[in-house]
Subunit: 400 residues, 2 copies
């Protein structure tokens, strides 16, 4: 059961401040652990990978003590100086917190192709370092926002060996959201006692069905990064096999990542509606994922939902163009809101439906698109949002 | 040299009328040849393929006498009745023009998932059949439009064996434009004497570098179709090898298809700007095409051009996410209008550039994005348009 707030986990400190990278609002955040953490990560597959991603990816197997995150500037497509700046951010944090530079990860989000204002960041790190506390961690979800309209964080608590385990999760993301093996920024902290390899395995698998199944605009970011740190302070017997306790952990991780993923989709740039695709009976798991995600990605489908127009034929067109097999002659399709549902196609034949009933469902702010392909046994879910005037407005003016 | 109008080609007749499929405007068109034609075609790869595409694809090797085209309804995702309706359209044309049903091709464009109003079409075919003339062919570019704002047609004339050859080309397309091995509707007529196999080969190759390199919204249509008919009335010695004459023909075909492709991109739904990508020195021809097209397809890149914002970092991000190799450390990038140009990145390092100079270029209605990857020898061009409020408006309200 997700609680929509972060909890204190003993030993994890943090805070977020305004350093001046942005004109106003929090823009510089630090997560700090009093003891060494094992870390698991998932990073963008974009070849124009941002400097902080390259650097953090290379350090993910080190014992980790801190993560420094800035918003307002992605430090991507910034050449050699960009990489030097990312390294400098880590060394400044190490110096101020008296820890090793190799134990500091770095993450950035914001405009691409502009060098970081390093003087502001240097002063910011000096300013934030003495303010880190367990309580101040709750400022970070706001500090990592760019065009986001609300904070995305939550926690989940469960028991292993009668020990209370907590996973804290936070994420940001609103535009350039089409994660490929990772997502925009997401940071998770936990106290579970688990082997590093199994923690990475659980994260990698869960990311495929959660963050990787959302899309706001089909653009994969240069800065996507998910980091999970455990300080292993719980005294549960260390999880070293894929046993019942591993499954309990993986299910909890799935729950919180799905919750954060849906939060990102709901807050898609300019979005007025959350769209959920529930696709079943595809030939393979991979093709189920591709097909479900293709619906969420189509500009035409997204525009039709914004217009509250039951133009369901575009969904069939998108499925057919996805590049993986489906048989249009077998498809069942329906739309569902929390209270109503309507069938649009059965066995590949269009149904006569009431435009009035459809309009009622389409007026809701959360709509499920249910697709049964009837050609196999594999399912997938995906989440996205409508395409609106405001999406265009936000992205036409982003730098100004 | 393209002339921006259709010419009379002896033996090709046609016309377009209003039959009532649309509330107003021309919606039913026929191209008719007095003698048998050889035909070449290129069709959508969307698995949710429209009934008329299935039917015409199956007849492409027959001697062809006529093409019937309706706008206002795509006859896609319409089940068995949709297929029966497409067959009925062909048989009605055959009956009214006293030709064989097997010599009639059919093509449709418009809303998906709605059955055709067959009574209106039947009456329309009766009405149009006696009105076909060589001169009336000029009505067809208007008759095949949906959300297009201007007609797309042109002709090219050249000489083989001192014989005058003409290719007439017409096309429609404004939304759901992301052709995969074909495009929205395009019809071409010519009098060249060439073998059917070589005509198909030339068409297939040229489509890859022209229609397949445009994108308006990343959505591949269910109805994409290019048809090229030759009545072979020119007395040039029949082209049966890939000789000099074949190259002359193929170059002319390239010229007219590129012209029609650019017309479609310029008229993208809601577009205010034509974007041209000129990408060079990729590792392979295929990867050059993928990379060039990825830029044209990115919602974020397209929104930035609408906002006249020199947010060039998004282009680097898109190239990196395209799934094919590039090296961000080597890229040169510049923007160019008809009179000005500005360099933004050199050898992977961002350049200091004048925002004022950039703003001048971005204010133009035709902008070239020049990308030099410096990793290989292969080039590609692609064409698209900006993403605007009007794109969303048009597609939010399409059915109403």
């Amino acid at each position: 059961m997700i609680e929509k707030k972060l909890k204190n986990i003993k030993g994890f400190l943090g805070n977020s401040i305004h350093s001046g990278i942005k004109y106003k609002n929090l823009d510089l955040s630090v997560i700090y652990s009093e003891k060494d953490c094992i870390a698991a990560g998932s990073f963008t597959k974009n070849l124009t990978v941002a400097a902080p991603v390259i650097l953090s990816r290379g350090k993910i197997n080190n014992p980790i003590r801190a993560i420094i995150v800035n918003s307002g500037n992605a430090n991507a497509a910034t050449g050699q100086k960009g990489y030097d700046d990312a390294e400098k951010m880590c060394s400044l944090v190490a110096e101020n917190l008296n820890i090793g530079e190799e134990s500091v990860l770095v993450s950035s989000t914001g405009v691409i192709g502009v060098h970081l204002p390093m003087e502001k960041i240097e002063n910011g790190i000096k300013k934030i370092s003495p303010t880190l506390t367990e309580e101040n961690i709750i400022n970070i979800p706001k500090g990592i926002m760019t065009t986001d309209t609300f904070e995305k964080c939550g926690s989940i608590e469960f028991t292993i060996d009668n020990e209370k385990i907590i996973i804290n999760g936070m994420a940001k993301g609103s535009g350039m959201i089409h994660p490929n093996m990772a997502t925009m920024l997401s940071f998770l902290t936990t106290n579970i006692n688990i082997s590093k390899d199994l923690m990475q395995k659980a994260l990698s698998e869960v990311v495929k069905d959660t963050f990787n199944m959302i899309s706001v605009d089909g653009d994969t970011s240069t800065n996507d990064m998910v980091l999970l740190l455990s300080n292993q302070t719980s005294v549960n017997k260390q999880i070293i096999d894929e046993d019942k306790n591993y499954k309990t952990f993986k299910n909890a991780l799935h729950e919180i990542l799905e919750y954060l993923s849906i939060s990102i989709a709901r807050d898609g740039e300019g979005a007025t509606k959350l769209l959920k695709v529930n696709l079943s009976n595809a030939l393979t798991k991979e093709s189920a994922r591709i097909l479900a995600k293709s619906v969420i990605t189509s500009s035409l489908v997204k525009s039709a939902f914004f217009g509250e127009d039951a133009n369901w034929g575009r969904i069939l067109s998108t499925l057919g163009a996805s590049g993986t097999f489906m048989d249009p002659k077998k498809v069942d399709l329906s739309f569902k809101s929390i209270v109503n549902s309507i069938d649009l196609m059965k066995d590949g034949e269009p149904l006569n439906f009431s435009e009035e009933d459809a309009a009622k469902i389409l007026a809701e702010d959360e709509i499920e698109i249910i697709i049964d392909l009837k050609i196999g046994d594999f399912s997938a879910k995906a989440w996205g949002c409508d395409l609106t005037y405001d999406y265009v407005k936000i992205n036409a003016d982003y730098r100004t």
